[in-house]
């Protein structure tokens, strides 16, 4: 349970003179729900894209699921799920077609695809909408669906980039239930968010300010350390130092 699935050492991404992510060093343990906090433009997405093999780091080292982020990106991709900030299912395909497409791409057999589709639709209670175009679903459902599609191949780690932005508190709560369910099956979750109440749901959180990781611990320890009553206070205290504006 305590083996490391993500290990980053001084991971850095520069765009010209601009250092988007500066010498990030951290590790994530198997089965953990790891919160990656930061204001807009702090470098959360940049860090996540490097770990997913979508972006080549400028320097530093990192391994994800035991594979190197420079050389073994295709192996990493086989072992992770990813849900980006932008909604990225095909809006002009139906719920079932989207499930079938991604399951097929990840190499599930026809029988597995059929089982998974039924299971997914059950889990979401989407029976009436299974044959509807994804376009017609409410945002909360879309995000839950894209999360379940992102872990359709039972990856070791799932990366979630602000998965709950723009939805109401009830839908956010339901979304976190899904993350817990996934964690119970052994999937490690790496979640970025800027909702501080959500950070309380994480086992450990790191807080990024201007490309640097400024704090990393369990929510309880962080509150103790900064003598704050809530994660929000912890974050406000750190974020006040930020010089960067939105990207």
């Amino acid at each position: 349970m305590n083996s490391t699935v993500i290990k980053a050492e001084k991971l850095t991404k520069r765009y010209g003179d601009f250092v988007a992510a500066n010498e990030l060093t951290f590790d994530v343990r198997a089965g953990e729900i790891f919160g990656f906090l930061g204001a807009n433009g702090a470098g959360k997405t940049t860090a996540m894209r490097m770990l997913c093999g979508l972006s080549v780091p400028s320097s530093g080292t990192a391994s994800v699921a035991g594979y190197d982020v420079y050389k073994q990106t295709e192996n990493i991709k086989r072992n992770i799920g990813y849900m980006s900030q932008k909604f990225s299912l095909y809006e002009d395909l139906t719920v079932m077609e989207n499930i079938g497409f991604y399951a097929g791409i990840y190499g599930l057999t026809d029988k597995e695809i059929k089982e998974k589709s039924v299971q997914l639709v059950d889990q979401l209670g989407l029976h009436d909408s299974a044959k509807k175009l994804v376009r017609s679903l409410p945002l909360g459902w879309k995000q839950k669906l894209s999360f379940l599609v992102a872990i359709i191949h039972q990856p070791k780690i799932v990366f979630l980039d602000e998965p709950t932005s723009g939805v109401d508190p009830v839908a956010r709560r339901q979304f976190w239930d899904l993350i817990y369910q996934a964690a119970d099956t052994g999937i490690t979750a790496f979640v970025t968010t800027h909702y501080m109440d959500e950070s309380e749901y994480c086992h450990r959180v790191s807080i990024m300010v201007d490309g640097n990781i400024r704090a990393l611990d369990s929510p309880a320890n962080l509150k103790k350390h900064f003598s704050a009553s809530s994660m929000d206070e912890v974050f406000q205290g750190l974020a006040r130092e930020a010089k960067r504006k939105e990207d």
């Binding site: 979508l54 990106t73 086989r78 990813y82 980006s84 002009d92 077609e97 791409i105 990840y106 190499g107």
Partner: protein
């Protein structure tokens, strides 16, 4: 291969759901092939003529009626002075002014010679050249008619004459549509294949779904093939539609082998789609892709020999046409459809297009990055 199956299934579902795209694929070739060839016509007709007749004799009358009976000219106006006629040209009411001097008939009969004056508006060069050409041959004809009437034919001194007659091969009636339709069809297929393919991929970039694809273990060759094949099939469909329209609207039946046409089309489409892919790898938005495609399509179109013969282009332009895939397709279309050329005649074209297809697709695959 299994991955490819899922990719193709997805693309076709999306295409058949996109009513706009389907409408474009069906209507664009039909409308363009039905309208374009009628307008793209080099035959010069309806040249308007201003006439200044100072003679008013039966000879000048005969001369004028001979000009109009040729059918190439329409009558602009009779004016009393050349100044007025010149004004007609200035106001674009006339293309050519003819001045018949006083004493036209008298001089012809007595002196055996007479000069007439032509003023031509040369803004439209083709019209000017062809128009004066017609007039010159009408005047020569008129001249020999007069000579036959007036000069006593000397049996022993018959004017030696070589008469040139010509017969037109492959397009006996010099029907411009026969020449234009196959070329326009080639252009349409290029347009549909190249632009739609690149726009489709860039659209996935814009929506963000491509990022989701890039984070899967899918291999980029498969992803690209999955994009290429659906458009390959659609463009082949458009081509077939175009051949049917040429057959039933213009009566053009390919003289050569249909199989040869389709074989060339297959290779050609890989080249054109490869170019579309390449453009998409360099563009982030549909606007960018559209403006890059537009630039190339314009160059391809104007330097393809569709409208103007490549042989009369300057040397540097000819070099550009060597790298223009459309040029090869238009040549093959015209050769096979009109002349019935065989594989042997177009083997060079096959080779060049095949090389282009290989280069463009390899370049596109190398330049397509799952990781930035």
């Amino acid at each position: 291969m299994r991955t490819l199956r899922f990719l193709l299934q997805k693309e076709f579902r999306q295409v058949f759901r996109d009513k706009n795209l389907l409408r474009q694929i069906l209507m664009v070739p039909i409308i363009q092939l039905l309208i374009f060839p009628w307008a793209a016509n080099y035959e010069v007709k309806n040249i308007s003529l201003a006439i200044v007749d100072h003679d008013h004799s039966s000879y000048s009358e005969k001369f004028i009626s001979k000009i109009f009976s040729s059918g190439y000219f329409i009558h602009s106006d009779y004016t009393s002075s050349f100044k007025d006629a010149y004004q007609l040209i200035e106001r674009d009411k006339a293309d050519i002014a003819i001045e018949i001097p006083q004493g036209f008939e008298k001089n012809l009969v007595r002196e055996n010679q007479q000069k007439i004056f032509l003023a031509v508006n040369a803004i439209n060069g083709v019209k000017a050249i062809v128009g004066t050409g017609y007039l010159a041959s009408i005047i020569t004809d008129y001249n020999s008619q007069i000579r036959a009437e007036w000069v006593q034919a000397d049996r022993f001194n018959a004017a030696p004459a070589i008469e040139i007659t010509s017969s037109n091969w492959f397009n006996p009636l010099l029907n411009y549509k026969m020449f234009m339709v196959p070329g326009i069809l080639a252009f349409l297929v290029t347009l549909i294949g190249g632009i739609m393919c690149s726009l489709n991929i860039v659209r996935e970039k814009e929506i963000g779904t491509i990022e989701q694809i890039n984070v899967t273990p899918i291999r980029k060759q498969y992803f690209i093939l999955g994009k290429l094949l659906p458009f390959w099939i659609m463009a082949t469909f458009v081509f077939t539609l175009g051949l049917l329209i040429s057959r039933f609207a213009y009566g053009i039946i390919p003289q050569g082998s249909i199989v040869l046409l389709y074989a060339f089309l297959s290779v050609y489409l890989f080249a054109v789609l490869g170019m579309g892919l390449l453009i998409s790898t360099y563009s982030d938005t549909q606007q960018q892709a559209m403006s890059i495609s537009f630039f190339f399509i314009m160059v391809f179109n104007l330097l393809s020999g569709l409208y103007t013969p490549i042989e009369s282009m300057p040397a540097w332009a000819k070099v550009i046409t060597d790298f223009n895939p459309l040029r090869y397709f238009i040549e093959v279309m015209r050769m096979v459809v009109l002349k019935g050329s065989s594989f042997h005649d177009v083997s060079h074209h096959f080779l060049v297009i095949f090389l282009m297809a290989v280069v463009l697709n390899t370049w596109a695959i190398l330049n397509y990055r799952k990781t930035t």
